[in-house]
């Protein structure tokens, strides 16, 4: 059973016991290890043929490696902050590039998320993680977790969105009474509106925003 521990907020230490103990991690995110480790590239990324085909179709390049061995492996990605998410059968939706590491028992796949991806310019699909175990999620700066409940919808800048959990509906809001004065840019901005019951992870950065200017 892999053991996850954060070293500070930006390095994930995963201790593997050997045998069938295995984790999946973002390709190339290993910064150090002790003991014996083997690395294997996983083709496709998602599970099974359908995952592979979906990835082929979506062009979502989620490069994943399988790490096996006995010892401690340290993962980090461009000084991003890391949040650990424990799943007990729920589903986690996460931007593929924000998924650092998942325990062996978790399944990853791809789902259609609609227009939010389009405004971000990185495809219409995000990664889903399902099962029981721990997942490590990356964010540019420490993630802020925001609850959505009935009567309390949340609007998020697409560039700040990282992940979400729960029974949430996403809708795409545009042109929120927002117009530029001097005619610069598109004159519209995009936000994602979340409704239902769940939690949204946002990062204190809007680095990826292409569509929004708000």
């Amino acid at each position: 059973m892999a053991r996850f521990r954060l070293e500070g907020s930006k390095v994930l230490a995963v201790t593997l016991a050997g045998g069938g103990d295995v984790v999946k991690a973002k390709n190339g995110a290993m910064v150090a290890y002790d003991g014996e480790m083997t690395f294997k590239k996983l083709t496709g990324g998602g599970d099974g043929l359908r995952g592979m085909v979906t990835r082929r179709l979506t062009g979502e390049q989620m490069e994943v490696m399988q790490v096996k061995g006995q010892g401690t492996c340290f993962f980090a990605d461009r000084a991003s902050d890391i949040s650990l998410v424990r799943l007990n059968g729920e589903k986690l939706h996460v931007e593929a590039s924000n998924l650092l590491c998942t325990e062996g028992g978790l399944r990853t796949g791809t789902t259609f998320t609609g227009l939010r991806g389009a405004s971000q310019g990185n495809g219409l699909f995000t990664t889903t993680v399902e099962g029981t175990g721990l997942a490590a999620v990356l964010s540019d700066g420490p993630a802020v977790l925001l609850r959505v409940s009935s009567g309390m919808p949340l609007q998020v800048d697409p560039g700040a969105y990282v992940a979400h959990q729960g029974d949430l509906r996403q809708s795409f809001q545009s042109g929120v009474n927002f117009r530029t004065v001097l005619g610069e840019g598109s004159g519209e901005s995009f936000q994602v509106r979340f409704e239902g019951e769940g939690v949204v992870y946002v990062q204190p950065s809007e680095r990826n925003t292409l569509g929004g200017d708000l």
């Binding site: 059973m1 892999a2 053991r3 996850f4 521990r5 201790t15 016991a17 949040s83 650990l84 424990r86 721990l134 540019d140 700066g141 420490p142 802020v144 977790l145 925001l146 609850r147 959505v148 409940s149 309390m152 919808p153 949340l154 609007q155 998020v156 800048d157 560039g159 700040a160 929120v176 009474n177 927002f178 117009r179 530029t180 004065v181 001097l182 610069e184 901005s189 939690v199 949204v200 946002v202 990062q203 204190p204 950065s205 809007e206 680095r207 925003t209 929004g212 200017d213 708000l214």
Partner: protein
Amino acid sequence: MSGESPVHEPVVFDARTLPVNDNVNPYAFSVDLDGRWFLQKGKMIAYYGQIDFHGIGHGPLDHLIAASFHSPLHAADWVVAEGKGRLLLADRAFDVNSFDLDDGNLTVRSGNLLAFEPSLSLKQSIVPGFLTLIGTGKFIAASNGEVHFMEPPVRVDPQALVGWADCPSPCHHYDHAYLQGVLGGIRAMTGLGGASGEEHQFDFVGQGTVLIQSTEMLLAERNAGAVPDQAGVPGPG
């Protein structure tokens, strides 16, 4: 080596539990909006409630330029958030701090200013690229690394300067001492040894506070607006 991985129960905020006009973490600030705030474009990351965003100077908000901006500057870089709710602000995971002015003045590099309350007025500084906030109210500024406060006399790397409060505007300071003497002469003639990169600083004297960020890496410059091209007015630099 085995056993449960230690996972701290994460803090989940909602519209009621988000901080009131305070930092959520060092990189995100929560504004309890009831009325209006001015925001630099692109700094809102999420919000709860009923909030509208307008371009400044557009139609019914034309008068805001006169009331709060005092100059025909960079209006296109700003939006007005209007309504009621909690608004989260951040800037590329840079450190974010709020500052309270009590009938005071503070001059800040234009690229570092994220948002301010309408009770403050924003003016162009005589120093090109800087903006001065005057009055009573709260504003929010970003910096690359924590802001460090120093009292004059102090000399500051131009790129590390975030702003200053109360003290007189800085002057330029040039340090070419190493060009003197025999070895210096050879250096000057041949260029051998290169430059230290520290030949030029901003020199602060007098009473006040100087704000320094922890790196000489600038945040993206924002247009501080044009100034009238006339005799006696320092140019935009």
